[in-house]
Symmetry: C2
Subunit: 377 residues, 2 copies
């Protein structure tokens, strides 16, 4: 099968960082790139127009959630996920693996798949590699993800190994199950934070004819040192692989720099929008918590360096008031701002990779987001 | 004092309907006109840009809410309400009278004013005519409202009369208290649904040098017949009065026709946005309740006759899904649509007054919103 996507990149002077272009059936994505998360076919509070304005090129939606509600068959009948949510750009769907293991109740894993109960109504549900592909094909995303078994990396080695090996067997079944030639399929590397397992998993997944490679099982509570060490191992194992690489569930501003220099091309994370709804705003001056009383009297914008609608038209005082009053507009303006910040940061990273200024851009961000400044103001 | 607003109108061939222009310090308003309600300095879920796009020319904000949170002195320090909420068009503030009597707890009325406890934190609060003017002057709205005493029109006659008479005495005190020459002040006619009291109140309020006249105490549970009869009485009493007339807290699509032909120029109501957040959409085909399961499979727009962002970009199925999933975007798209519908209807009413087609436009709306069709689909 010819790959429905193509990825070209050039090496940079920054570690293993790559500057690239991912072409998908619904358009082109500049990499490194961040994908906003539209769990239930909507990035919470925002329209597709907002996402474009914020700079989004590709977004993520969730197989687990959409299969339960409104149902993937329904979305297929309505013309597919792009039409359903009114987003005509590239979409990546996760396979449901992460959600089954983080949201599903009473889950039972066997070699065939996973049985669990819906977090919505307690109804019994079953997800297998074949079923995960079937759902994603019904949704019609540009990129589907293989169905993997996630485990807590803090579990004893044998448990991590067993899940990894099952993930590899499921990966082959996902490849065998696919029928659409207009949807890419990415494999997922597991193995926790055990170097040997990670190296083994990277080789095993890379040996399969996936269109892209994802690094799963990170950003689930491990230390920063464990994450970067694991990324080093994977980068080393994939050194000669030219496929696009996607680090799942990351991240925060500094994580992007750590991962990009280790060869990561794609990111997704709920963090920018989730913390936004709690009043945490990411700015060129660091994190602000607009729930703090002092912002109620600040007439300036959330971020003087930002051109989003929230920063152009409104003061910190106003948005802080909206949070206190629990007004819906608070969540919307904060989400729009944090996505604009994140996507602008990714653009700055791409520019920095092009002109060799990665270290100094990183230094500027570290000054406001580094360990000693990590407290939210 | 020269009035800070001017109102010109021409009579029409439709009852006592007037087609006019209200000029305020922050811009011109075509009448008849509907003012979206931004209780806490935000029309829930929408930006000022959305309001403009929906066709809003003038909006309403609430003295009671804003004085409690974030505080009118704070808003004044931040440059006034227009700058605070990022809306540079005309704003009308109510006086807090309605909220004190509908939201305040443990209220006690004396001749001086009202003592009540905040619905937010139970703290003791006091509102008097002078204080209501002081707050509104701090907010800096284009139009302030006199502080009135609202009573349930179903109360015994003497209670309605007493509140009306106190409203008249408070009206004079509001006029005496004003100090800004760039803020209009409207008087409020009370008197429940008692014809004699209404006639008396209309004459008493109209005798005072207000910049405009409001009809209060309606749309609080009285029958439709009581409302139109009361509007007839007021229209008759004000027949020769050239000031702008504002019917507070109305309304629904058919109410507009009933009131416009009785000489009403301005309306406000939370209804379009409040019902929107519950999934009730107003369309050219009548009311739809998007929480009904059948909409989950309808690929067409909410209203094929509407050009709002929700109708241009999204299907009924998608918005119905958003409501089921309790997604923030549901409330936003539905609010935008219902305001677009309401403001477009007001524009159609103005056109119809200009070209004599009021009756046929009304007939078209009645076919979908009339008694026999009042059920929400």
């Amino acid at each position: 099968m010819t790959s429905p996507i193509s990825f070209t990149f050039r090496a940079t002077t920054t570690g293993q960082a790559r500057l690239g272009t991912l072409s998908t059936p619904h358009g082109v994505v500049d990499t490194p790139q961040f994908m906003p998360v539209g769990t239930q076919a909507t990035v919470k509070s925002l329209t597709p127009g907002d996402l474009r304005t914020a700079g989004a090129q590709m977004i993520l939606a969730n197989t687990y959630h959409l299969s339960l509600r409104p149902g993937h068959e329904r979305i297929a009948r309505l013309g597919g996920l792009h039409r359903f949510m009114g987003w005509d750009g590239p979409i990546l769907t996760d396979s449901g693996g992460f959600q089954v293991f983080s949201l599903g109740h009473l889950r039972q894993v066997d070699e065939e798949g996973v049985t669990f109960t819906s977090h919505l109504d307690g109804s019994p549900q079953r997800l297998t590699p074949e079923r995960a592909i079937e759902i994603q094909e019904a949704l019609g995303s540009d990129v589907a993800m293989a169905f993997d078994q996630l485990v807590d990396p803090a579990l004893p080695g044998p448990a991590v190994r067993e899940a990894m090996e099952r993930t590899h067997r499921w990966a082959a079944r996902c490849l065998a199950a696919r029928t659409r030639d207009d949807q890419a399929l990415f494999g997922i590397i597991q193995g926790g934070v055990d170097e040997r397992l990670r190296r083994h998993s990277a080789a095993a997944i890379a040996a399969l004819p996936f269109d892209g490679l994802a690094i799963g099982g990170l950003s689930v509570g491990e230390s920063k040192a464990d994450m970067t060490r694991t990324l080093d191992v994977v980068a080393d194992a994939l050194a000669d692989d030219v496929r696009v690489r996607y680090l799942m569930g990351v991240g925060s501003p500094l994580d992007f720099f750590d991962a990009v220099e280790r060869g990561v091309d794609l990111f997704d994370c709920v963090l920018p929008t989730r913390v936004a709804r709690n009043g945490q705003l990411w700015t060129s001056e660091g994190k602000l918590n607009l729930r703090n009383a002092r912002f109620l009297d600040e007439a300036g914008p959330i971020d003087p360096a930002c051109g989003c609608e929230a920063c152009r038209n409104h003061s910190r005082a106003y948005v802080a008031h909206l949070f206190r009053a629990e007004e819906l507009l608070a969540y919307r303006l904060a989400s729009l701002h944090n996505l604009t910040y994140t996507l602008t940061l990714m653009r700055q990273i791409r520019s920095a990779l092009a002109d060799g200024s990665f270290a100094s851009v990183r230094e500027g961000v570290t000054a406001h987001y580094g360990d000693r400044r990590d407290g939210v103001r």
